[in-house]
C-alpha cells in the first residue's frame, strides 16, 4: 500500500517544520544524506520529487484505477474475467518493475531525481544542473516509461472489457457509475500517456544523444553548451498534456466509487444518473483542453492563455453538477454510517473544498500571483490527493468483504476516518493563506526570507499534524492486514444490501466469479425502492415485476 511510502513526507516535513533543529532519526534513515541529523538540501529535493511521483502515479493511479478497475469491472458487468488476462498480467508486472526501478533510485550515490515531480528541463536534462539529474534522472525516466506501458496495457484491457464483455441485459445505461468512471479513466489514460512517453524519450535524447529538443542558449558550469534552437517550454506542453488528464485519471474512479457508496448507504438511487454520465463525458473531453493552465506564467501568448482560462473554468460546471447530485442523493435518505460511507462523505467535503480553489488558479489573472505557491500545494493536495485517497479508502472499506470474505474492524475504521479527515484540513487549510502571502513551494528553508519567515510556527504545527496523520494511516494498514486473517467473517453474500452484480457471486468468488451461469440483468444499478416484500432494494438480476418498467430516466 502507498501509505508506507508517505514516510518521506514525515522526513521532509521535519525539515520544513524544524529548519533549525537536528534529528538523529534522519541520520538513521538517510545516512550520509543527513550528517549530524540535518537533511541535505539535495536529499530534501530528492524526497520531494519522489514523493510527488510515487503518490500521483504509483499510489493514486495504480491504487485507484489499477486496482479497482481490474477488481470491479468483471464483477459489476457480469464477466468471468477481464477480456485479456494476459494483458492484465503484463500490466501488473510492468508496474512492479517500474516501482522497483523508481524505488532503487533512492539508494544510488548521486541520489534520486530531484527536479520536482514535473522534471522540467533544462534542470532535468543536464548533469551539471543538479546532482539528482545524473543516474537518478535516468532511472526516473526509465521507471516512468515502464509505468506508461503498464498503464496503456491496463487501459486497453479495461475499455475492451467494458465494451464487449457485459452480461445479457447489461446495457451501457444500466452499468453502475463505477464502471462508467473506469471506462473514461481508461480512455483518458490511453490517449494521454503516450504523450508523456514521447516527452520522456525526447528528454533521454537530449541527455545522452546531444540533441536540442528542450535546450537552447545555456551557459552552465563555466561553459556555453552547443545546443541552440530547442524549447524548454515544449516539454511542459507535452508533460501537461498528460499531466492534466492525469488529475482526472485519479479523480474519476474516486468519483465513481463515491457515487456507488453514497447511493448504497443512503438507501436511495443515485440522483441524476444521466447527468452524472454526461458530466463524466464533459470532464473527459475538457481534460484534454486545459493543460496550458499550468503554464500561464511561462511567457506564452496572453491570447492563448485567455482561451485556456475559459476552457478551464468550464470544467467547474460538470464538477458542480456532480456535487449537487451527490447532495441530492443523500437528501431524504436513510443513511448507514459505515466506515465506507464516512469516507465517501469526507470525499465530497474535500472535493468541494479543493475544487473551489481551482477557480482561483484557473483564472490566469489570479494565477499570476498564486502560481507555484503553497496555494497550489493546498489546492491539489486537497482535491486530487486527500479527496482521491478518501475515495480509495471508501472503496477499500466497502469492497473488503468481497475481496477477503471478512469485514474490516469498524472501530479502527472510524478512528482512521476522524483523524485523517480533521488532520487533512488542519494540514492543508492554512497553506492557502501561506500561498496568498506568496510563499513559494519547493523551498528547503524559509528563515532567510523577510516575506515568509513569519510562517515558521505554522509550518511547525503543520509538520506535527502531518506526522500524526501519517501514524493514523498505520492504523489503516494494521486494520487491513489483521482483518485479512482475523476479521469478522461475512455470512451474508450481500452484506450492504446493494444492487450491483458483484454481490450475487459467492462470498468469496472463485475462478470465473459465478459458480453457475452468469446472472442476467433486468434493471439499472440503483433500484433502491420498495420491493413489495418489506425490502428497500431490488438487485439488478431480479426480473421486472409485471407492469414494472426500468424507468430510471
Amino acid at each position: 500500500m502507498g501509505n508506507c511510502r508517505r514516510l518521506d513526507v514525515g522526513l521532509f516535513r521535519l525539515q520544513l517544520g524544524f529548519p533549525e533543529q537536528t534529528f538523529s532519526v534522519l541520520t538513521k534513515f538517510l545516512g550520509e544524506w543527513a550528517r549530524g541529523g540535518k537533511m541535505d538540501p539535495e536529499m530534501y529535493y530528492g524526497l520531494v520529487t519522489i514523493h510527488g511521483t510515487v503518490l500521483v502515479f504509483f499510489v493514486l493511479t495504480g491504487g485507484l484505477s489499477g486496482t479497482f478497475s481490474n477488481f470491479l469491472i468483471p464483477l459489476q458487468i457480469g464477466a468471468r474475467d477481464m477480456a485479456s488476462p494476459f494483458l492484465n498480467m503484463l500490466s501488473f508486472w510492468f508496474f512492479a518493475i517500474a516501482s522497483v526501478v523508481m524505488f532503487s533510485s533512492l539508494f544510488i550515490t548521486t541520489g534520486p531525481a530531484s527536479g520536482g515531480c514535473t522534471s522540467y528541463p533544462p534542470l532535468s536534462a543536464m548533469k551539471e544542473a543538479s546532482m539528482g539529474t545524473g543516474l537518478g534522472m535516468d532511472l526516473w525516466l526509465a521507471s516512468m516509461a515502464l509505468f506508461v506501458v503498464s498503464s496503456l496495457l491496463g487501459g486497453l484491457n479495461y475499455i475492451v472489457t467494458v465494451l464487449n464483455m457485459r452480461t445479457k441485459g447489461m446495457s451501457m445505461t444500466r452499468m453502475p457509475l463505477t464502471i462508467w468512471a473506469f471506462l473514461f479513466t481508461a480512455v483518458l489514460g490511453v490517449l494521454s500517456f503516450p504523450v508523456l512517453l514521447s516527452a520522456a524519450v525526447l528528454l533521454l535524447f537530449d541527455r545522452h544523444a546531444g540533441t536540442s529538443f528542450y535546450l537552447s542558449e545555456i551557459f552552465i558550469a563555466g561553459k556555453a553548451l552547443p545546443n541552440v534552437g530547442g524549447s524548454a517550454i515544449l516539454y511542459q506542453h507535452l508533460f501537461w498534456f498528460l499531466g492534466h488528464p492525469e488529475v482526472y485519471i485519479i479523480m474519476l474512479p474516486a468519483m465513481g466509487m463515491a457515487s456507488e457508496i453514497l447511493s448504497t448507504h443512503s438507501r436511495k438511487p443515485i440522483f441524476g444518473y444521466f447527468a452524472m454520465i454526461l458530466s463524466l463525458i464533459g470532464i473527459t473531453v475538457l481534460a484534454f483542453l486545459v493543460w496550458a493552465h499550468h503554464m500561464f506564467v511561462t511567457g506564452m501568448s496572453p491570447f492563448l492563455g485567455g482561451i485556456f482560462v475559459l476552457l478551464t473554468l468550464l470544467i467547474a460546471i460538470p464538477s458542480a453538477v456532480k456535487v449537487f447530485n451527490w447532495l441530492t442523493t443523500i437528501w431524504k435518505g436513510n443513511i448507514r454510517f459505515t466506515p465506507a460511507m464516512m469516507f465517501a462523505l469526507g470525499f465530497v467535503s474535500l472535493f468541494i473544498s479543493g475544487g473551489l480553489t481551482g477557480l482561483f488558479l484557473g483564472n490566469s489573472a489570479l494565477d499570476i500571483h498564486l502560481h507555484d505557491t503553497y496555494f497550489v500545494i493546498a489546492h491539489f493536495h486537497i482535491v486530487m490527493g486527500i479527496s482521491a485517497f478518501f475515495g480509495m479508502f471508501a472503496g477499500i472499506y466497502h469492497w473488503f468483504p468481497k475481496m477477503y470474505g471478512r469485514f474490516m474492524n469498524n472501530t479502527l475504521g472510524y478512528v482512521h476516518f476522524f483523524i485523517t479527515f480533521i488532520g487533512a484540513y488542519v494540514i492543508f487549510w492554512p497553506m492557502h493563506y501561506e500561498g496568498v502571502a506568496g510563499m513559494p513551494r519547493r523551498y528547503y528553508d524559509y528563515s532567510n526570507w523577510e516575506s515568509f519567515k513569519q510562517f515558521a510556527d505554522l509550518n511547525q504545527m503543520i509538520s506535527v499534524a502531518a506526522i500524526i496523520v501519517f501514524f493514523a494511516q498505520l492504523i489503516f494498514v494494521f486494520n487491513y492486514f489483521v482483518s485479512v486473517w482475523k476479521g469478522r467473517k461475512v455470512t451474508d453474500p450481500n452484506p450492504w444490501k446493494a444492487n450491483s452484480l458483484e454481490w450475487t457471486t459467492p462470498i468469496l468468488p472463485g475462478h470465473g466469479n459465478w459458480d453457475g451461469p452468469i446472472p442476467e440483468v433486468h434493471r439499472w444499478a440503483y433500484d433502491y425502492k420498495d420491493n413489495g416484500e418489506g425490502g428497500d432494494f431490488i438487485p439488478q438480476n431480479v426480473p421486472l415485476r409485471e407492469g414494472e418498467a426500468d424507468d430510471h430516466h
Partner: protein, 347 residues
C-alpha cells in the same frame, strides 16, 4: 533513548486501540448487532454535526491567526486589481462553499437511519439539474469576464516611457541590468558569457552595451508611480521572477525572453511605515524549481522617489568601464556596493 520511548509509546497506543476495537466487536455480539449498530449510527450522525461546527470554528480561528501574518497591501497598480478580483472570487466560491458544506453535514445528520423506512425514490429531475447547471455556468461567465479583462490589461504592452530593466536568473542568484544613459539595453548572447568579466554575455561590438549597468546581486531599484518593464531571461535552467508584493510573477526561460510590466505605487520607506516593520523589503523569490539552491535565490527590490533614483544612478559605473576600460582602477570588478566606486560622468 527518547526515540526508543517514542516507539514504545506509539506501539502501546496501537495495542490499546486494537484491544478497544476488538472489545467493541465483542460488545456488539453481546448486545446484539442490531441494537449496537443503531446506537452507533446515532452517535456517528451526531458526530456529523460536531464535525460541521468544528469545521467552521476551525476556519474562523485559522483566519484570525493568519490574517496578521499576511502580505501587506498590494504595492502595484496590477496588485490592486488583483486584490479586488481575489475578493470577488472569494465571495463567489465562499457562498458555494458554505452552502454545500452545511448541506452535506446537515443532510448526513438529518437523514440518519431510522429503522427500515421505505426509501424515497427520487432519481431524476430535469428542472433541478438544469438549475444547477445554469447557476455555475453564470457564475463562471462572470469570473471569466473579470479575469480576462484584468489578464489582458496586465499582459498588454508596457506603456511608453516605462523604465526597462533586465533581470537574468542563474543558479542561484539574480543579475540585473540597467540600460544606462542611452536608455537602451544592448545585445547579449550566451556564448559571450564568462564569469570573470562578462557575466551576462554582453556583445561588446554593440555600442549600446557600453553604458549598461549591471548589478550582480540582482538588486532592482524602481521609481514610485513610474511603470517598469522587466525583461526576463535565464542563463542556465528555468527560474521564475516572483514578485509577491506586486502580485505578479513570470518565468525566466533559457533561450526565450519574457516580459512583465507594472507600476509600483508604494516606496520601500512608506511600506516600512505601513507594516510597522523596520526590516521590511520587497523581495524577488525564485518560484520555479531550479536546483539545490532554489530556496536561497533571493534578490531585493527598492522602490524610491525619482530624486533618490537619480542620485543612485549618478553613482553607478557602467559594467564595461568596471571591467574593460584600462583607465579604471576598478579592474578587479568591484561588486555590489557601488557607492564607494569612483563616480562616472553620466550625462
Amino acid at each position: 533513548m527518547s526515540g526508543l520511548l517514542l516507539v514504545l509509546l506509539v506501539a502501546l497506543i496501537f495495542v490499546v486501540l486494537y484491544q478497544v476495537a476488538r472489545s467493541s466487536e465483542m460488545v456488539a455480539r453481546i448486545q446484539g448487532e442490531e441494537i449496537f449498530d443503531k446506537r452507533r449510527n446515532k452517535i456517528l450522525a451526531y458526530s456529523m454535526l460536531v464535525l460541521m461546527v468544528a469545521f467552521f470554528v476551525g476556519i474562523y480561528a485559522c483566519h484570525q491567526y493568519m490574517m496578521p501574518l499576511m502580505a501587506p497591501i498590494a504595492a502595484s497598480d496590477h496588485g490592486k486589481n488583483y486584490d479586488f478580483m481575489f475578493f470577488v472570487t472569494l465571495v463567489v466560491t465562499g457562498i458555494i462553499f458554505v452552502l454545500t458544506q452545511i448541506l452535506l453535514f446537515w443532510f448526513a445528520f438529518k437523514y440518519q437511519r431510522t429503522g427500515d423506512k421505505v426509501p424515497f425514490h427520487f432519481a431524476h429531475s430535469t428542472k433541478l439539474e438544469l438549475v444547477w447547471t445554469t447557476i455555475p455556468a453564470i457564475a463562471m461567465a462572470v469570473l471569466v469576464a473579470i479575469g480576462l479583462k484584468a489578464w489582458f490589461t496586465m499582459t498588454s504592452d508596457a506603456p511608453k516611457g516605462a523604465m526597462q530593466i533586465e533581470i537574468i536568473g542563474k543558479q542561484f542568484n539574480w543579475i540585473s541590468r540597467y540600460p544606462g544613459p542611452d536608455g537602451v539595453l544592448g545585445k547579449r548572447y550566451f556564448t559571450n558569457i564568462n564569469d570573470q568579466d562578462n557575466i551576462l554575455g554582453l556583445d561588446w561590438k554593440d555600442q549600446k552595451n557600453m553604458d549598461d549597468i549591471i548589478v550582480p546581486n540582482g538588486e532592482i531599484r524602481l521609481v514610485k508611480d513610474k511603470p517598469v518593464e522587466l525583461i526576463i531571461g535565464s542563463r542556465d535552467v528555468i527560474h521564475d521572477v516572483g514578485l509577491t508584493h506586486f502580485r505578479m510573477k513570470m518565468d525566466a526561460v533559457p533561450g526565450i525572453t519574457s516580459r512583465l510590466w507594472f507600476t509600483p505605487t508604494i516606496t520601500t520607506r512608506e511600506m516600512k511605515e505601513i507594516t510597522g516593520n523596520e526590516n521590511f523589503v520587497y523581495e524577488i523569490s525564485c518560484d520555479q524549481m531550479c536546483g539545490v539552491g532554489h530556496y536561497s535565490m533571493r534578490a531585493v527590490i527598492i522602490v524610491e522617489t525619482q530624486a533618490e533614483h537619480d542620485a543612485w544612478l549618478a553613482k553607478q559605473q557602467s559594467y564595461y568601464a568596471q571591467n574593460h576600460a584600462p583607465a579604471t582602477p576598478a579592474a578587479e570588478a568591484p561588486k555590489v556596493d557601488s557607492s564607494k566606486n569612483i563616480t562616472m560622468n553620466i550625462k
